[in-house]
């Protein structure tokens, strides 16, 4: 059982919202969600990963965030991880992801 992903795009920003379980089963969905934007290196883009509806996150999901960071990295896009619940925030902080992402 995994979660669902929804995407909202504006001129500057792409918001990826993840509902339910954010785990390895989401890999291809998650990647597809941002790939279009990251292949266009000429435009800089902000990514917001909205975890408001995320119930669970595992280490593969952290790995996917790292992959996004790398693939979006060349155009200096910044990535914000927003609205994580306390338990999920704790997991992000244990991995010290606040050094790599803006956690709000």
């Amino acid at each position: 059982m995994s979660g669902t992903i929804s995407i909202a795009r504006s001129d500057q920003e792409t918001t990826v919202s993840i509902k339910g379980r954010f785990n390895f089963e989401m890999h291809s969905q998650f990647r597809a969600a941002y790939q279009e934007e990251t292949t266009d290196k000429s435009r800089s883009r902000r990514f917001i990963i909205d975890l408001a509806g995320t119930e669970y996150i595992d280490s593969s999901a952290l790995g996917m965030l790292l992959l996004l960071r790398e693939e979006a990295g060349t155009n200096e896009a910044d990535i914000e991880i927003a609205n994580a619940r306390p338990e999920i925030r704790k997991i992000l902080e244990t991995a010290n992801f606040q050094r790599l992402f803006k956690i709000t």
Binding site: G63, A95, N96, L100
Partner: protein, 568 residues
């Protein structure tokens, strides 16, 4: 296509035979059930046309026998029926028939049925072939997995000290391969190194990353590297081999029983729990680094935290598989539930078992979703030697002996490598005076950098007094070293065992002579260097003086004699 006709009615049989032969099929005829079964076995036809009422064995029995012989392949049996006898039709299907053909025969229908059966047969054959291939493949994969697992456990567990009396652990992989790496070993100074690593994901891909890390862990620990060094080296290794989305949350510990200190590097693992003699949580050691394999180390990433340990202290280290273990209603075990046991209500020596029992009770028969690891270190038992031959303590006891080593370093070598670790490793391998590695390293490092920086490169240590000078010193050092084209550093080490009144070996004396032959050598500057260092206190030559029993420079200032004493 090979077709077998089983029919006692000669006219029918002949009509069918002609019809089919004209279509290009190879046709065989049998006149009763028994002969039909025999011919089926000898001719191996692809399709059977079967009459029902026949002497010696009726069509139903013959069909059953044929289906039994040909259980490994699909051979359609088409019954030849005269009537719309429903009872008879049901029996045809029950005895293994695949279709019927009603008399009198219509050529078109016969052709269509044979073609349809041929399609099914081909599909069946294809499916059967694929199933066989799949089974073979599965078997091969399983064999390879078994071999890999054997290699894996030998590499990861070689010299592992996990069965030392001071350690208790549980590591339950979710699949055949464990993505949690739990290793322990002693360093040359007798300190205990422990590492728990948790790779992204689980199973084979996670376990593959564990192999190079365990090798680095054992190798570097045995050579006396610090856990900060280990973390840095492991990080570099993982960066070079792992894809971006894989990393390893890890915690490295060094437990020093003599100094009663605990050194921790925690990158991404749950809090390490330090528990006091009443079984209460005394200190929570939170992850303050990124996991290994995420990005290259900065000097900050090497930083470790140091804590005081008491004899009664216990340490608990676990992977998130423990707190994220779920029961059937998806509720997680959780860190709160875990830490509830650390309120003093459970005697400390019962904590480990209590937690394991609680976890087992909580999970019930729910499926495991991640690798689970937990380790306890009981400081009271740190001094106890591990049992079992596999668990040798990687700390050599070499009685003091006579030996000497001589090194000569050309400018070309000095430009390419730092020879110090090699020198120190040689000494440790020959004599390994337990607990002296760091002191010997410091002594040699100071003497060596004096010879190189001041003797060969002519740098003035007074430059370092101001922040700008400090930077200038190092940029000048880099430039001059690159330009160095003559001179040398010679290092001679002579070890002499020491005896007590009863002629028992009690330790040794290491006589160190370091000599440099650099250009433009000015011995007055060396003396000022000495003074300069002394006035700063605790640095350079002053440090060597404090560690060694004798230090003297020659008149020219390019040769130092030092004596380092150690006792067993």
């Amino acid at each position: 296509m090979k077709i077998l006709i089983v029919d006692d009615d000669r006219i029918n049989s002949t009509i069918l035979n002609r019809l089919l032969s004209r279509e290009g099929h190879q046709v065989f005829s049998a006149e009763d059930g028994r002969t039909g079964v025999e011919m089926f076995a000898s001719e191996r036809p692809d399709l059977v046309l079967m009459d029902i009422r026949m002497p010696h064995m009726n069509g139903y029995e013959a069909a059953r026998a044929i289906k039994q012989i040909s259980s490994d392949r699909f051979v359609p049996v088409i019954f030849l029926t005269a009537v719309t006898d429903e009872e008879g039709l049901v029996q045809c299907i029950e005895s293994g028939g695949d279709d019927f053909l009603t008399k009198p025969f219509n050529r078109i229908i016969l052709q269509a049925k044979i073609e349809a059966m041929e399609r099914i047969r081909r599909l069946h054959t294809e499916l059967h072939k694929q199933k066989e291939q799949l089974e073979q493949h599965q078997e091969r994969v399983q064999q390879e997995l078994d071999i890999s697992q054997h290699l894996f456990s030998n590499i990861v567990r070689a010299g592992n000290l996990l069965d030392a009396p001071c350690l208790r652990h549980l590591s339950v992989p979710m699949s055949q391969f464990n993505g949690d790496l739990l290793v322990a070993s002693y360093n040359p100074a007798g300190g205990l190194h422990v590492m728990l690593g948790d790779f992204t994901g689980h199973g084979l891909s996670a376990a593959v990353g564990a192999m190079p890390l365990s090798e680095l862990f054992y190798g570097m620990t045995a050579q006396g590297y610090s856990i900060g060094d280990l973390a840095e080296e492991m990080n570099a290794k993982l960066l070079s081999i792992m894809p971006t989305r894989m990393f390893c949350a890890a915690c490295l510990l060094e437990v020093d029983a003599r100094q009663q200190s605990l050194t921790v590097w925690n990158g991404g693992l749950p809090d390490v729990l330090l528990v006091d003699r009443r079984g209460q949580l005394q200190q929570r050691i939170t992850s303050n680094h990124l996991p290994l394999g995420v990005r290259p180390f900065t000097p900050d990433d090497r930083k470790v935290s140091i804590f005081e340990l008491r004899r009664e202290s216990r340490l608990f280290l676990y992977s998130d598989g423990l707190t994220e273990a779920t029961r059937s209603d998806e509720e997680m075990f959780g860190s709160e539930r875990l830490e509830r046991y650390f309120d003093g209500s459970v005697p400390p020596e019962r904590l480990f078992d209590t937690i394991l029992a609680a976890l087992e009770h909580f999970r019930g028969d729910a499926q495991q979703t991640d690798d689970i690891s937990i380790l306890e270190i009981d400081c009271a038992r740190l001094g106890e030697e591990p049992i079992g031959e596999r668990l040798h303590r990687d700390r050599k006891h070499i009685p003091p002996t006579n030996w000497s080593l001589s090194f000569f370093f050309s400018p070309q070598l000095l430009q390419t490598v730092d020879p110090l670790p090699a020198i120190v490793n040689s000494v440790m391998n020959l004599q390994a005076p337990a607990g002296h590695r760091e002191r010997i390293y410091t002594t040699l490092a100071e003497l060596f950098s004096n010879a190189l920086d001041h003797g060969l490169l002519g740098l003035d240590t007074r430059m370092k007094r101001t922040p700008e000078g400090f930077l200038r010193y190092y940029s000048q050092r880099e430039e001059r070293l690159a330009a160095l084209d003559h001179g040398f550093i010679r290092l001679e080490l002579t070890h002499i065992p020491q005896f007590d009144d009863k002629q028992q070996k009690i330790g040794g004396e290491m006589h160190i002579r370091i000599e440099d032959g650099g250009p433009g050598f000015d011995h007055r500057r060396v003396h000022s260097v000495l003074e300069g260092n002394t006035s700063h206190g605790g640095r350079g030559i002053a440090l060597v003086r404090s560690l060694c029993s004798r230090l003297a420079y020659n008149e020219a200032g390019n040769c130092a004699d030092v004596v380092y004493r150690w006792t067993l």
